[in-house]
């Protein structure tokens, strides 16, 4: 589904990603862990096409298409979704209106007729349960005044509505209390299928105990220094990144 080959990327002139390799197949969940500032969000943004993040070399293929050459809206329409680490406020725009705009943009691009307000609202109502969100939220302005946890639920609600092939979840678990985390994680599980995939960025193993990853990657200094099974997440939680920092140093020396 997603193939990233020796991807380098910078913000302005500052190189952040220094050769990332990654392959995610349909039906898989991949976790990406790594210390603060190691480039996890950068990877997410570059894949989603944020204009401030430039891929300087390497490739990223999404279902065989050259992702890096596509406009961000076309990546979304092709089925790539990003749950933002910091969801953005859009004052005066109602959340339901916003989701409908995205939903219909996707449909239109696929030659499916747009859905009217009433039908969409029914569709939306049927998805609220997945993240345990109250309907009143969808009538508020996008992320405005939402608590940290509410914003994250809102992101997963959008995932449920847009039904992407590949969802990149950037620290969806941060800011959620224990009960909310369980609820949202179970929601994510409900959205898992054999024909979609999830790339899950996190600092904590807790979410991974619900959403079991097939592969865990450790990203340090803009490189994936090690990939392994789900037990790696547990180990990181108790031992930290020291061991991997050393690996990163060795990699840098070798490069």
């Amino acid at each position: 589904m997603l193939e990233v080959i020796d991807l380098h990327a910078s913000i302005g002139d500052v190189p952040i990603l220094k050769g990332v390799n990654l392959r995610v197949n349909a039906g898989e969940v991949h976790a990406i862990m790594g210390p603060n500032g190691s480039g996890k969000s950068t990877l997410a943004y570059v894949l989603a096409g944020h204009p401030s993040y430039k891929a300087t070399s390497g490739r990223a293929l999404f279902e065989g298409q050259n992702l890096l050459a596509m406009l961000p809206e076309n990546r979304a329409r092709a089925g790539l979704f990003l749950s933002f680490q910091h969801p953005v406020e859009v004052p005066g725009v109602r959340f339901d209106e916003f989701m409908r705009a995205g939903f219909n943009a996707l449909r239109k691009s696929r030659g499916v007729p747009e859905m009217g307000v009433l039908d969409f609202n029914k569709h939306l109502a049927s998805k609220l349960g997945i993240v345990g969100m109250d309907a009143t939220f969808t009538r508020r302005y996008v992320n405005e005044g939402f608590s940290g946890g509410e914003k994250k639920r809102g992101e997963i609600l959008q995932m449920a509505i847009l039904d992407p092939k590949l969802a990149i979840l950037d620290e969806t678990d941060s800011g959620l209390d224990v009960d909310a985390l369980r609820e949202v994680a179970q929601g994510i599980n409900k959205l898992r299928r054999a024909d979609n995939a999830i790339l899950l960025v996190t600092h904590y193993q807790r979410i991974l105990s619900y959403v079991t990853p097939d592969v865990v990657h450790v990203l340090i200094g803009g490189r994936i220094v090690k990939s392994g099974g789900k037990e790696m997440a547990l180990e990181i939680e108790t031992e930290g990144y020291d061991k991997y920092e050393d690996m990163a140093k060795a990699l840098r020396a070798g490069a």
């Binding site: 096409g49 204009p51 809206e73 979304a76 406020e89 859009v90 705009a101 943009a105 959008q158």
Partner: protein, 485 residues
Amino acid sequence: MSTGNRAVKELASQSYQYGWVTPIESDTAPRGLNEDTIRWISAKKNEPEFLLEWRLKAYRHFMTLLQKEQLPEWANVHYPSIDFQDIIYYSAPKTKEKLNSLEEVDPELLKTYEKLGIPLGEQKRLAGVAVDAIFDSVSIATTFKEELAKYGVIFGSFSEAVQNHPELVEKYLGSVVPYTDNFYAALNAAVFSDGSFCYVPKGVRCPFELTTYFRINAQSTGQFERTLIVADEGSYVSYLEGCSAPMRDENQLHAAVVELVTLDNAEIKYSTIQNWYPGDEEGKGGIYNFVTKRGKCAGANSKISWTQVETGAAITWKYPSVILQGDNSVGEFYSVALTKGYQQADTGSKMTHMGKNTRSTIIAKTISAGHGNGTYRGLVKVMPKATNSWNFTQCDSLLLSNSCGAHTTPYVEVRNNSSHLEHEAFTSRVSEEQLFYCNQRGISLEEAHRLIINGFCKEVFKQLPFEFAVEATRLLEANLEGTVG
């Protein structure tokens, strides 16, 4: 390419859709301004003596101002000086003596309004909206008249009111905006040709939205209409005005006056969707929109609310205001002003608190694109006796290009210490983060701008009657097309 560059393509300028001219014969006053012009207009309209006298006083006052060169200068707008002798002050479509029904209206005129999307024909009337259509200087048709009469609501052209209800006109004309108020108010009082008049009697809730539609057609004419709305005790009326003009290379002057009066417990909601011809991409032509709008909450517990969506005109200079005279009265001003191309808008509101416990709210949204220049200018004045008064002012600007501007000039003057005033102001650009967030959901840049800009205006659009809110949204989008996205 940054989203900014991709987004703000400099002004592929949406062409103005209402720029055509109606071929029609008209009755026009001789070019220029002198006492004879005033007498000519007054005679033409068969006006009572008091009105001619009032016009002449206004004319003399105007001439002294003109001689002393006391043109308004405080506004942050720039334009070449106007030759007041080179304007035709009155132009009316030639008609039969008196129209008895809509069927007698010149079909060319009906076609004009049809083309503008304003329904005057019997079958096509917008449900629940009564329309008064003003073409160049005179009112040509009013719909729903009989139905309104059943409720005792008087609605129609100003000229008609002068003939049928001179006592009401004499009592209220100039009671809120005297001819001495300012330069253009003096000019208007001297030469005003027609306008709308509305009186809602005691205790009546007007069952229709009332609408006046202004259209400038003839060349070299100025349009000077005058609107007067009186809401008697305990009554309510919602009123809307719309306007457009043909595309012409020269600038045309529109200097209107609107006066509103509410007595005890009455409420007037006045909405404007202003779409005068703004001039071409280089800034040539367009309407000079110099308007004095003021309401007086004369009675206790009364309320006046202004909502305006200003998208047209080369230059707009207008400050819908409220004098809060009655105790516990409420004044509101909600505004969206868009400037693009070389448009200039200097607009805002003035709230004068005189009665006790009076409250006012000002929400002004300025959107600037291209080389547009928008200024908010406001004054909140609280008099010594207006104890426990309250004002909230919020002026937000949204910039859509690097060559546009937005300015806010709020003044406050408080003369007691039990009153409470709050002021907020923000200037923002459509942020790259917001656009990316929208894009990431599959929403195109153009649609993203539309969402964000509409969101920016939401608080104001919410105040408009539903069908006009839809209209305002469409108008704003049409005006921004090609500017962003």
